[in-house]
Amino acid sequence: MPINPDIQGRTLAPTAPYLVGREKIREFSRAVFATNPINLDPAAAQAAGYADVVAPPTFPIVIQQLTLDQLLAEPDAGIDFSRVVHGDERFSYSRPIVAGDELTGALTVTSVKTLAGNSMVTAETVVTDAGGAHVVTAISTLVVRAED
C-alpha cells in the first residue's frame, strides 16, 4: 500500500502525560556519553539554577517516539515501518527538560511528498508541560523507501 497523501495536516491525539524521572535522565545521559554534571548530579543542576537534573538535548526523542508509534499505527496512513529510514531530526526548545516534568506530545503531519517512489513524511511533535506551556518541538523526516 502506498503512503496516503491525505494524512498531511492530520494532528493525532496527545499522548498520555510522561513523567520525566531523574534516573531516566541519568540513564539516557550515560547512553549518549554525556558527562556534564548538570545532566547527572542533582546538586550540580541545582547550583546552576535548575530544580533537578537537565535532560540531554536529544532526550525528547523518547516522547516523540510515542507519537511516531501512533502515526505508524494509523490504519489508513500506509506507512510500512520496515521501509522507514530516519532522514533528519530537529529539536527546538523553549526551555530545557528537567526531572519532574510531566510532558505530553501531540504530532502533526506537516508534509507528505513522493519522489521516484520514495515518500518523505515530515512530522512535528509539540511537547508541552503539565501547565500546557511549550517545552520543545521535535521535527522528523521519515523516508519511506520504494518497494523493490
Binding site: F28, P56, T58, Q65, G87, D88, E89, I139
Partner: protein, 140 residues
C-alpha cells in the same frame, strides 16, 4: 562554571573536539535508554537480512553523542536551544573493533543581538561525514 563569552568568539573558531569509541554494548545501552529496539541495531542476521552491511548505530545515538562536546564547552546543557541534523551515512559497528566517531565543533554564525551562536558539527566515521547540516544554536 562560567559560560563562554560571545564577544570572544569568531566564526570558524574550533570550540570543541572529541572522539567517541562505540561498541555493540553502547548500542544495547542506547536501545534500553531510548526505547528504540529495532533489531538492526543489535542483530547481525536481521541487519544483513534487510541488505545492510552490518549492525548500525542508531542515528539518534550519533546525534545524541555528537552534541556532548558542545554541552561540555558551554558548561550548561540548558543553553542549547536548537539542534538539528541530517542522517547522511550509516555507522557500521563491528562486533569486535567497534566504531570510532569523531566530532569537531566550530562557530558557524554569531548573532549578538539575540545573544546566540550557531555551532556547526563535523561528525565523521572512517574519514567520511555521517551527519549533514549538524547545527546547534546556543544561548550565551
Amino acid at each position: 562554571m562560567t559560560a563562554p563569552d560571545l564577544t570572544g568568539l569568531a566564526v570558524g573558531d574550533t570550540v570543541a573536539e572529541a572522539a567517541f569509541p562505540l561498541t555493540r554494548d553502547s548500542l544495547v545501552r542506547y536501545a534500553g535508554a531510548s526505547g528504540d529496539f529495532n533489531p538492526i541495531h543489535y542483530r547481525d542476521d536481521v541487519a544483513t537480512g534487510v541488505g545492510l552491511p552490518g549492525v548500525l548505530a542508531h542515528g539518534m545515538l550519533t546525534m545524541g553523542l555528537a552534541v556532548q562536546p558542545v554541552s561540555d564547552w558551554l558548561g550548561d546543557p540548558g543553553r542549547i536551544v536548537d539542534y538539528q541534523v541530517r542522517f547522511t551515512r550509516p555507522v557500521v559497528v563491528d562486533p569486535q573493533a567497534g566504531a570510532e566517531i569523531l566530532v569537531v565543533a566550530k562557530v558557524g554564525k554569531i548573532d549578538a543581538d539575540a545573544a546566540q551562536a550557531r555551532i556547526d558539527l563535523t561528525v565523521s566515521f572512517q574519514d567520511q561525514t555521517v551527519l549533514g547540516k549538524a547545527q546547534v544554536v546556543v544561548s550565551l
